[in-house]
Subunit: 286 residues, 2 copies
Amino acid sequence: MELSSYLQEKKIIIDKYLEENLPLENQSPSIIHRSIRYSVLNGGKRIRPILTLMTAELLGENYTMVLPAAAGIELIHTFSLIHDDLPSMDNDDYRRGKLTNHKVFGEAIAILTGDALLVMGLEFICKNAEIKGIKNNSIISAINYLLEMLGTKKMLGGQVEDISWNNQEDDDNFIENIYSKKTSALICASLKTGAILSNATKEQIDALQVYAEKLGLAFQITDDLLDLKEDKENNSKPTYPEIYGLEKAKKMVLLYSNQAKESISIFGEKARLFHDLADFIVNRKK
Amino acid sequence: MELSSYLQEKKIIIDKYLEENLPLENQSPSIIHRSIRYSVLNGGKRIRPILTLMTAELLGENYTMVLPAAAGIELIHTFSLIHDDLPSMDNDDYRRGKLTNHKVFGEAIAILTGDALLVMGLEFICKNAEIKGIKNNSIISAINYLLEMLGTKKMLGGQVEDISWNNQEDDDNFIENIYSKKTSALICASLKTGAILSNATKEQIDALQVYAEKLGLAFQITDDLLDLKEDKENNSKPTYPEIYGLEKAKKMVLLYSNQAKESISIFGEKARLFHDLADFIVNRKK
C-alpha cells in the first residue's frame, strides 16, 4: 500500500476510536469533556498513534492489538500541546488554525484538561491489557517506558529547558537536545509501545528506537522550516533554521531521515512504509 | 502501638523513602528538581501513604511490600495541591505556612512540576512491580483504579466543579459531592492500592472503600472547621460550616467518623488503628 493511503486509512481508524471512546460532551462536568473533545478531535495528523499501529503490523500483529494504547498516546500528546500553549509557557493563541484550548475555555480548564488527558491516556493504555494475547508484564513495561519518556529527563525536562531558553547557550547541540526531548521522546514511546505489546525482540526494539529518535529530529526541524514560511507570533523562540541557517537545517533533515532509514535495515523490505515515512517527513509541505 | 506513635514512625519512613528516591536538586534541569523537592519535602502529614502502609499491615503483609506505591500516591497528592494553588485556580500564596510552588518558581515551572509529579508518582507505583510477591495484574488493577479516582469523574472533575462554583447550586449535597471527589477519591485510592497489592478479598476491599469515603468526608469538613479559626484569604470559597453552620458541620464529622468505624467491623480488633484514626480525625487540632 502507498504510504499516503496508509496514513489516511489509519488516521480514520484512530479518529473513529477516539470519537467513540472519549467521554461525551454532556457528561458531567460538561465543560471539561467539551474541552477534551475540542482539543483531541481537531483534525491532527495522528502520526504518533499511527506509528504504534505501523510497528505492530511490522512485527506481524494485527493493528487492533495495540489500538487502545495508540489512542492513549495521542491523548498524552494532546496534553503536552495544551500545557505548552498556556500563557505562562509559549502563550500561543492558535494551533492548527483553531484557537488554543485556553483561549476558548480559560486557563484553569486548560490546565485541568491537560491533566485529565494525561490520566485518560494512561487509562487507554491500561485498557489494552484487556485485549487477548497481551501480557500483563508487557503493559507494565510499556507504561514504564512511556512514563520515562514523559518525565523530567525527557519530554517535561525538554519543556523546562525550552521555557528557560535565554540565548546564552554556547552548546552547539543545545537545540537538538531540546528537540530530542520534546519531540523524539514521545515518538520513541509510540514505536516502543507498539513493539513491546507485539513481543518484539531486544534487537528489533533497539533498531526502532534509533529510527524514532532520528525521525523525531527530522520531523521537528522540518516543522521549523515550514513555519518560516508563515507569519511568526511575537513570543516565538529562535528555531533551528534561524540559528543554524536554512542550508544547514535542510542538510540535517536529510541526514536524520537517512539515518532513520539505515537504522531499520534489519527488517528489510517489510519496513518499506517506515522508509517511505522518513522520506515523506523530509518532503512534506505541511 | 498507639496511633500517634504509629503515624510518627510511618511518616519518618515515607519521608526517608521520598528523600532518597526523588531526583537530586543538581540533576539537570535543576530548577524542576528543586521545585519538586521544595513541594514534596515540606513536612506534610503523609496521611495518604500511611493509609496504604496501614492497609497492607491490616492484611498481614509487611509495609515494605507497598512502600514505593505509597510514596507514589504522596507525589500524586502533591501534584494536585500545586495545580489547585495556581493563580488561575484557587490563587493561594501559602500552603502549610510556606510560599506555594508558583510563588517561588513561577507559574510555568509550577504547572510542569505538577505534571512531572503525576508522571513520577505513577513511575513509583510501577516500581512496586519489582518487589517480590507482587503480581503484575495487581499492579495494573491498582494503577487502573488510581487513574479512575484521578480522572474527570472523580478528583479532576471535583476540581472543575470547585472552580465553577457560583453559589447558585440548590443541591443540598453539592459541597459533599465535591469533597467526595476532591478528597475522598485519592484516600480511596490510597487504601485500595494497599489492599490490591496485598491480595485482599473483594469483601475486604469493599469495606475499606466505604471507610475511605467516610474518612475523607470527615477529614475535609474538619479541615474546614480548623480553617475557620484562621485568617481567611480573599479568594476563599464558602466551606461546609459556612454554608451549613458550625453545629451541623460538627455533627456530620462525627457521623462520618462513626460510619467509617462501622464499615470495617469485619476486621474486628485487628483494625484498631483504623478506628483510632477515625477518632483522631474528629479531634485533631491541626
